[in-house]
């Protein structure tokens, strides 16, 4: 006898995944070029600065970075879940559809207006990123409608073009911009997680959590929207309103993620697919679990990125693309053969 998904059942799964996330975050914060002993970390900060080196590395450097990776992972995975549902396309992902580059373009534009990294400008950067992401979502949606829903690949091609176009504009803008910031911008474009101060972290965490909760609220409607607009209306769901809310929140969390850490690809593709394979397609479950598992994935990926070529560091986007690229091709082959799925 199969059971319906209940709130209790879901809460248990979420709790278990959160526990795993906590363990992974702790372990990853331990790993690095400098060995850190937990004992010394728990001993707390010394009375004088510079005494408790282990504590300072763990709390001041590693922990913020691990938390940042977790936040970005959750945001991108959720954005992927929502885009796949609304566009009714299992290959949708904020990076592949060019929404991340749209947000990135917003960030670069903010820089041209004189913004710098840091808390003071953070809000302005996020607003620019959100504007860029929203416009791109709208653009991709229009292209998707225009080309029709019969082909899985049409929307992806549109995304590729949007992506290439925005990347070119970004490259153009960075090359005419102040050369001092060029190196950091290029790293950022490839998806780079760096240490941020705690205030930025907490504010971003609040925004991303709010976005995910907002999306969770419409998950049962997303389930029905995957059946199409007419079906949604027959089942009492206002498709246009739900779509607007979903796109708005998805663009919002993507924008926050991009302004924190640049263009990190494929998290929104790989994670929802994995979770769907194991737990089924019900979005009420898919969204929260994808968020947590996306966090776990990116925390591990970032740990790899900063350790495998130590003492140098890779942008984490390199790791996710190396994992996600082949995965994407496999899915593309699979779904292209099933075009008739998408009526």
């Amino acid at each position: 006898m199969v059971k319906n998904l209940t709130a209790k059942n879901l809460a248990i799964k979420v709790f278990i995944c959160l526990a795993v996330l906590a363990v992974v975050m702790c372990l990853c914060a331990m790993v690095g070029t400098q060995k850190v002993s937990l004992e010394k970390v728990f001993a707390g900060p010394g009375e004088e600065a510079g005494q408790a080196i282990d504590y300072e590395i763990f709390v001041g450097v590693r922990l913020p970075r691990v938390i940042l990776a977790a936040l970005v992972g959750a945001a991108l995975a959720c954005a992927g879940v929502v885009l796949q549902a609304i566009l009714r396309n299992p290959l949708a992902d904020p990076y592949i559809l060019g929404i991340s580059s749209g947000a990135g373009l917003g960030v670069i534009t903010a820089f041209l207006f004189g913004a710098t990294w840091g808390f003071f400008w953070g809000g302005a950067i996020a607003v620019f990123a959100f504007t860029g992401a929203s416009l791109t979502v709208w653009l991709v949606w229009c292209i998707g409608r225009f080309t029709g829903k019969s082909q899985v690949t049409n929307l992806l091609l549109a995304g590729v073009v949007v992506n290439a176009f925005f990347s070119a504009v970004i490259m153009f803008l960075t090359s005419i911009a102040n050369s001092e910031q060029l190196r950091s911008t290029i790293y950022w474009l490839m998806g780079n997680i760096t240490e941020k101060d705690w205030l930025v972290l907490w504010v971003s965490a609040g925004c991303i959590l709010a976005g995910i909760i907002g999306l969770f609220n419409i998950c049962h409607k997303l389930n029905i929207l995957t059946f199409g607009q007419e079906e949604a209306k027959a089942l009492g769901v206002d498709a246009a309103k739900t779509r607007l809310v979903a796109f708005g929140f998805a663009a919002f969390i993507t924008a926050i993620a991009v302004s924190l850490s640049g263009l990190i690809g494929f998290v929104g593709l790989v994670i929802p697919h994995g979770v769907r394979l194991v737990f089924g397609p019900d979005h009420r479950q898919l969204l929260p679990l994808s968020a947590i598992i996306g966090s776990i994935f990116l925390v591990i990926a970032d740990t790899l990125a900063r350790t495998i070529v130590a003492p140098a560091q890779l942008p984490v986007g390199v790791i996710t693309a190396i994992v996600g690229g082949p995965f994407f091709l496999v899915l593309l082959a699979k779904y292209s053969r099933k075009v008739s799925w998408l009526k």
Partner: protein, 277 residues
């Protein structure tokens, strides 16, 4: 007693110039089975989409359960009217139970988790449509007939007084066609549902429907008891095809005859104006 669906002077066209439905008026009593028949392009599916609020009439009014259709919110209307369209396979691998459970959406609160009552409606719908035995299977793994039963189960779980169906049997074999109609008739007789089905199958409609709305390509229409509306004259005129009419027991049956149909010349038809040899 007034009708559960009342259509008054309804007109519709997809462009300002075009008219598909013109001055259409009819009434559907609660608990009746109505078939909507007519040639392609006569506006059968359009009418169905008007009745479920997907399209807005150009002129005239539609009342559902004594209230104007536009006075309902999307959610409230989904508590009155459920719709079954051509069966199709969704993008993601939802199981039968998940799909049927979605019917409860118009009744759910924030975050959308089903309660005890919701589960009861879902289980009842799975039982009555005989889909409970494959409730755990993904929709993609079912045959067309099975999938159509699942969508009917979903409409039943939605617990609406009115069920609208768009060609529920179009891709099914004989056995499954009859199976679907039996299922609908059961829902009508046992649960008192009002059923409105768009159909191409005149003979099944005669057997199962109480009333028929026959739409012509020229925006004309007939509405009445199935026996009265489906006469040989009427069918030849509306569908524009030579037809053989026969009787089995008390029921009339109609078979279309094409130009190359074997032995078709033995049967005379009014369409030929009596020039048949």
């Amino acid at each position: 007693m007034s009708g559960i669906i009342e259509v008054e002077n309804l007109s519709f066209g997809y462009t300002p110039e075009e008219t598909i439905l013109k001055a259409l008026s009819f009434e559907v009593m609660p608990g009746t089975f109505v078939g909507i028949a007519g040639p392609n392009g006569a506006g059968k599916t359009t009418l169905l989409n008007l009745l479920c609020g997907l399209l807005t009439p150009k002129a005239g009014s539609i009342e559902i359960d004594t209230a104007h259709i536009e006075s309902y919110s999307i959610r409230k209307l989904a508590q009155k009217v459920s719709v079954v369209r051509h069966e199709f396979v969704p993008v993601f691998d939802f199981t039968v139970r998940e799909c049927v459970s979605m019917a409860r959406t118009p009744y759910l609160g924030t975050f959308g988790f089903e309660g005890k009552d919701d589960k009861k409606f879902v289980n009842d719908a799975l039982a009555i449509t005989d889909t409970a035995r494959f409730a755990h299977r993904p929709l993609a793994q079912l045959s067309g007939g099975e999938r159509q039963r699942v969508f009917i189960a979903r409409a039943l779980a939605q617990n609406t007084a009115i069920l609208l169906l768009d060609e529920p049997t179009s891709f099914l074999d004989l056995k499954h066609q009859v199976g679907i109609y039996d299922l609908l008739k059961t829902a009508q007789l046992e649960k008192g549902k009002t059923i409105v089905a768009v159909t191409h199958d005149i003979n099944l409609t005669i057997q199962y429907a109480d009333e028929v709305l026959l739409l012509g390509a020229d925006s004309s229409y007939q509405h009445g008891r199935a026996k009265d509306v489906f006469s040989l004259d009427q069918i030849e005129k509306v569908f524009g095809v030579r037809t053989f009419a026969g009787k089995v027991g008390g029921e009339n049956f109609f078979l279309p005859l094409g130009k190359f149909a074997k032995d078709s010349r033995q049967i005379t038809s009014k369409l030929d104006g009596g020039q048949q040899e």
